[in-house]
Subunit: 271 residues, 2 copies
């Protein structure tokens, strides 16, 4: 089901700046038993991203009500919330701040990944495309996603679950649709997203839960060599939870231990 | 007027990848007396940009016919052609190559700039936002335009005609909606767009005409100091033609000579 500004609709104005310039943000979240998981965190990120771009964020109650309406007959689904700067005239200059933003709530059936992916880990493609640096947009889940589109087009083998993206200096940053953690001597590390990448809610949760469970988690630069020497390499997002990387380029990893603990943390804290 | 896939319409599918991911390209061109100016060049760029992104480019005859239809009652206008990868499922993976792309032809009234801008030159804002490097997307006029949106939001004074963008290393690259040339010792130089920026049709024309008229034109890196020491600084695009920069930061420039010649070239070759 799709709601546009609260009303069932499959269409949006051609003049919407979301289409014209990718001028908007989005979140993808899991809905289970009619409950949008980690709603507070997703809304906080959406609002923060809107603020950074100078887009008026819709009220939480409005979005929450629309989410409830869209998922009423689809209690277990994936929901994507999109907020754009709304319709505008030609040209980059922004419409008046009073211009209405556009809200889109769209549901999809949960993706059916092979159970193997969670149980045994995944084979991952090392993307040739390198993420560029743009500190003004880094971390934001905005609608300018051509880098992800090009990276995802690099493989079509269904046995490859995800693509790993490096930045232009060769640091590991994230998957095309997931955030990255590595395990080193019992501690976690996750890439610094100050110059590129998307700051996901599951990444934020894991950083927080690690602290609570006495596991160090460093937000840092992770060069390619460091990645290949890690004891475990993990990919996370709101839909997949956590997958261990089993294979990347020539390298293979056996079953890890922290991946299991993290999965427990994520399962336990399904607020 | 707006045509979507050849039919009058103001809306587009919410699932269109142009909206979901900015997964598409566009061109903006001047229509005079019902004739789209420099159509061959615009189409060639559109096709080249589509090819780089792996989007099937609509046939020239189809776009040309739709442009004629959209401008029939509006013979003097600005036309924007947008081509997206078309509707898709959730996720970055591309739909089958057989998936129909989306074509949008949209007309607007020509912008009314003060005659001053062309006659006496323009005051320009030096943008704080720096363009990031992404060689895989550089030169392409794609729908991921948040950098331009953020840069354009840096000023609201109507007396400032344009914003000048540097890259993250401090090289001058372009205006938010225009390409850049400088004049040095009677020769032209324009920034290399291999790492960022949009390769416009007017830039291409000026490079070509300069060669024909025996004026050297270098495509090169242009550091900020070099820009400020230039004899003339020029901004160009398909709608404005050429504007001389009269004022940037503390620096002012008097009337130039090459700007007049370039304007003549552009006027003479309005094929």
């Amino acid at each position: 089901m799709i709601l546009v500004n609260g009303a069932p609709s499959n269409v949006i104005a051609v003049t919407d700046r979301g289409l014209m310039y990718g001028d908007g943000v989005f979140r993808t979240l899991a809905v289970r038993g009619g409950r949008p998981l980690h709603w507070q965190r997703h809304y906080a990120r959406l609002r923060s991203d809107c603020t950074t771009l100078g887009i008026r964020c819709p009220d939480e109650a409005v979005l929450r009500a629309e989410l409830a309406q869209a998922t009423r007959h689809e209690p277990d689904c994936v929901a994507r919330l999109t907020v754009t700067r709304g319709p505008g005239q030609r040209g980059y200059a922004q419409p008046s701040p009073a211009n209405p933003t556009t809200r889109i709530v769209m549901t999809s059936a949960p993706p059916q990944y092979p159970p193997d992916f969670a149980e045994r880990g995944v084979a991952v493609h090392l993307c040739r495309l390198r993420l560029g640096f743009q500190p003004a947009l880094a971390g934001i889940k905005h609608l300018n996603r051509l880098e992800n589109v090009l990276a995802r087009a690099e493989w079509s083998d269904a046995a490859i679950a995800e693509g790993l993206l490096l930045d232009i200096e060769g640091n590991a940053i994230e998957g095309t649709m997931s955030n990255l953690f590595i395990v080193e001597r019992g501690a976690l590390a996750t890439p610094d997203l100050a110059r590129c990448g998307v700051a996901g809610v599951t990444r934020e949760r894991i950083i927080e839960y690690a602290g609570r469970h006495g596991i160090a988690c460093h937000v840092t630069h992770i060069g390619c060599e460091r990645l290949f020497e890690a004891a475990e390499v993990l990919l996370v997002n709101s839909i997949i939870g956590v997958w261990q990387v089993r294979k990347l380029m020539g390298k293979t990893w056996g079953p890890g231990t922290l991946v299991t603990r993290i999965r427990q943390w994520l399962d336990e804290e399904n607020d």
